[in-house]
């Protein structure tokens, strides 16, 4: 077995280990140990790629190129952070008697399973296998959304699964049509679904069938990415999922779905010329940013706020790709990287605030959290500063690159709308953060507030903060090389 297969096997084994009825300590070690090993293996696979090899398996059905390596490393990193924070999250819930051993097993099995599916998505080079892997991420996350067994969690899980399955049915139709478009050239075997082969024979694909297939695939995978108007599952699912699972969805599912969009986009670019899928992505991206803006201004729930922030960011990435300029593509992938590194901080600090106040509604958390929970509140403010793209943090630069490319190119109106929305979004986040963190302490708190403790969760949160801030000043050269390689893949298709 090569390194790539081990990278996929380890999280799967960790998931199996999660089902065992072991003592708590052992289960925690197995979860974090497994995910840490997965991250190390993913980094190993990526460095194999950087050294010039093209790791692959199963007759090129799995193949690591620049784009794959980038998403692989980021997903594995988020998986590790989510697992580490998950341990603290479960401990806190256990202290309050909210956790049964069965629930712990469910969590310990589903999180690594989800990580496995995420990693599988990121190395797929075959449209059929890609679809199967995305479906596995969906199925693994349903019970994580329904984890708390409240009325609202069931509602969120139902909507999530129905909308997700519908999106995937569209994506499957798109896959079938793309397969049909290449049938005359590539035959009926697995080669007909192979992305690299499809790009090689791009000129001979049946144009109209391919066009229809590309549209269905983009809409289908766009649903999974949470692009407006198919984003409606996102606020519900993010609100109900426990924060460690929320961050897996917000980064893992988003990156995975974007990976699918990019693969479809490169095939469309090669076969139908630039402009066809770009225009669709640009429109969906602009709509996402525009839809997120008002909902952030009027938001009443902390985790839904994060969900709309995620709709905004996936919109920005789609715009970056849709602009079609080389610089903008690089900007979009840089944005993806910074977003993946910064998002855990936002989720962990917001999750801690919500957990200490036993609710994620602004009304129940109340103003003046800075006085009650200083560490989590400070980190939440920091996360919001980073997420809104303020200098000197990374997303400021990636957004600037995208905007510059936009103003230089033919899509002037789109760039103006994006800039306007970004300014409004900044004000929205500043207002929401301000009314949560600042202000008088309420005279009589509605519910007793737990005291902030220095536990494992706070440590993970601090580590996430160090990563998020540190990435602004230092990106490892290998990671930057991966982003460039990924941009080359999106531009040239190899």
């Amino acid at each position: 077995m090569n390194l790539l297969l081990w990278t996929l096997a380890v999280p799967l084994l960790t998931a199996l280990a999660g089902l065992l009825p072991l003592p708590r300590r052992w289960k925690e070690i197995a979860l974090v140990g497994g995910l840490a090993l997965t991250f190390a293996l993913a980094v190993g696979t990526a460095s194999q790629f950087l050294a010039g090899a093209v790791p692959g398996a199963f007759d090129e059905a799995l193949r690591v190129d620049g784009l794959s390596a980038l998403v692989l490393v980021l997903s594995a990193l988020v998986g590790l952070m989510s697992g580490a924070y998950g341990i603290a999250y479960l401990r806190r819930n256990e202290d309050r008697g909210l956790l049964t051993p069965w629930k712990r097993r469910e969590f310990d099995a589903l999180v690594p399973l989800y990580v496995f599916a995420m990693l599988l998505v990121s190395v797929c080079n075959n449209l059929g296998i890609l679809w199967i892997a995305v479906e596995v991420t969906t199925l693994a996350s349903v019970f994580l959304v329904a984890f708390h067994d409240r009325d609202t969690s069931l509602e969120a899980a139902w909507k999530f699964l129905m909308l997700g399955s519908l999106g995937l049915a569209f994506a499957l139709l798109g896959t079938v049509l793309m397969f049909a478009a290449g049938r005359g050239v590539l035959g009926e075997g697995m080669a007909g679904l192979n992305v690299t082969r499809l790009i090689e024979v791009a000129g001979q694909l049946h144009p109209l069938t391919l066009k229809l297939g590309v549209v269905f695939a983009l809409v289908g995978y766009g649903t999974k990415a949470g692009l407006a108007p198919m984003h409606t599952w996102k606020p519900d699912a993010y609100r109900e999922a426990p924060s460690p699972a929320g961050v897996l969805m917000a980064v893992g599912m988003l990156n995975g779905a974007l990976y699918c969009l990019l693969r479809v986009h490169t095939i469309a670019n090669a076969a139908l010329g630039p402009g066809f899928s770009s225009r669709l992505l640009l429109a969906l991206g602009l709509l996402s940013v525009a839809v997120a803006t008002p909902f952030i201004l009027i938001q009443w729930n902390l985790k839904r706020l994060l969900a709309y922030s995620s709709v905004e960011h996936v919109g920005i990435m789609a715009i970056g790709i849709g602009l079609g300029a080389e610089a903008a593509t690089f900007g979009a992938l840089l944005h993806l990287t910074y977003h993946s590194i910064a998002k855990p901080l936002a989720f962990f600090s917001a999750g801690t605030l919500a957990q200490l106040h036993s609710s994620s509604n602004f009304e129940q958390i109340g103003p003046g959290t800075l006085g009650r929970t200083p560490v989590a509140s400070t980190l939440f403010v920091l996360a919001m500063v980073i997420m809104t793209g303020s200098p000197p943090f990374g997303m400021f630069f990636s957004e600037l690159i995208i905007l510059r490319a936009g103003f230089a190119g033919p899509h002037l109106a789109a760039s103006v709308i994006l800039l306007g929305c970004l300014v409004l979004l900044f004000c929205g986040f500043a207002y929401q953060t301000g009314r949560l963190v600042l202000g008088e302490q309420p005279a009589a708190p509605a519910r007793p507030v737990d005291v902030e403790k220095m536990d494992f969760g706070s440590l993970t949160m601090l580590l996430a903060a160090v990563l998020a801030v540190g990435s602004a000043f230092y990106l490892p050269p290998g990671l930057l090389e991966l982003i460039h390689a990924a941009a080359r893949v999106v531009e040239g298709g190899r």
């Binding site: 059929g128 139902w158 909507k159 139709l173 049909a180 109209l208």
Partner: protein, 215 residues
């Protein structure tokens, strides 16, 4: 001969989709889905026999076994246990629903003529039927309230995608088809579990009651 049989099976699938739109008893709707899946298996079977294609035969067996028998049996068990038999009045009444579906069929056929070799022979009808069924499945999904009916609508959409695969190509590679079938089974199981939990919690599987989350 085999072409006629394929078209006959596909037409049968379209009929089951129409009957499903006009149907309120949940058991009958599930049986209609079972018939639809068996007909889908029939399309694959005839095409496999005519073209001496072993993997189409395997996929026919898979379709009939899983979607014609296993999934309907599981869904029947779910509604048997929760004891809800009928769809309440849908958001749109039956006659107007049927009229809308007629329009959707026309749209589906219109689109199918423009696909690769979709304009001639059996493939035209097969793709036309499947695109119409796709649209009707989406329509069912937004107009019905019971959780089980929504699952059936989703499965109809899924059947229609498989029919496109048969019409536009001769089926996906077997390994991909196996993976997809496995995922669909797991999805139905997960949906069944969710329906159980929803009924336990709300004493109803009316999904229009799931409306607390807004904004």
């Amino acid at each position: 001969m085999s072409q006629d049989l394929v078209v006959l099976c596909a037409a049968g699938m379209l009929v089951t989709a129409y009957l499903m739109v006009g149907q309120k008893a949940l058991f009958t709707a599930i049986r209609l889905y079972a018939i639809q899946s068996v007909l889908l298996g029939g399309v694959a079977l005839v095409m496999g026999l005519a073209g001496h294609n072993a993997h189409l035969l395997a996929s026919a067996a898979l379709t009939i076994g899983l979607k014609g028998l296993l999934i309907p049996w599981f869904l029947m068990r779910v509604i048997d246990r929760i004891g809800i038999r009928r769809e309440i009045e849908p958001f749109l009444n039956v006659p107007s629903s049927l009229l809308i579906c007629l329009g959707l069929t026309v749209v589906g056929y219109r689109v199918s003529t423009r696909l690769a070799d979709g304009a001639q022979g059996a493939a035209h009808h097969v793709i036309g039927v499947s695109l119409s069924m796709l649209l009707m499945g989406l329509f069912l999904m937004v107009t019905r309230r019971k959780a089980v009916t929504q699952i059936l609508a989703l499965l109809t959409v899924e059947n229609s995608v498989f029919l496109v695969a048969l019409g536009a190509t001769s089926g996906m590679p077997l390994i991909v088809e196996l993976g997809i079938s496995f995922d669909v089974i797991v999805a139905v199981l997960v949906l069944g579990v969710l329906v159980h939990r929803i009924v336990d919690r709300f004493d109803s599987m009316d999904v229009s009651r799931l409306s607390k989350l807004k904004g």
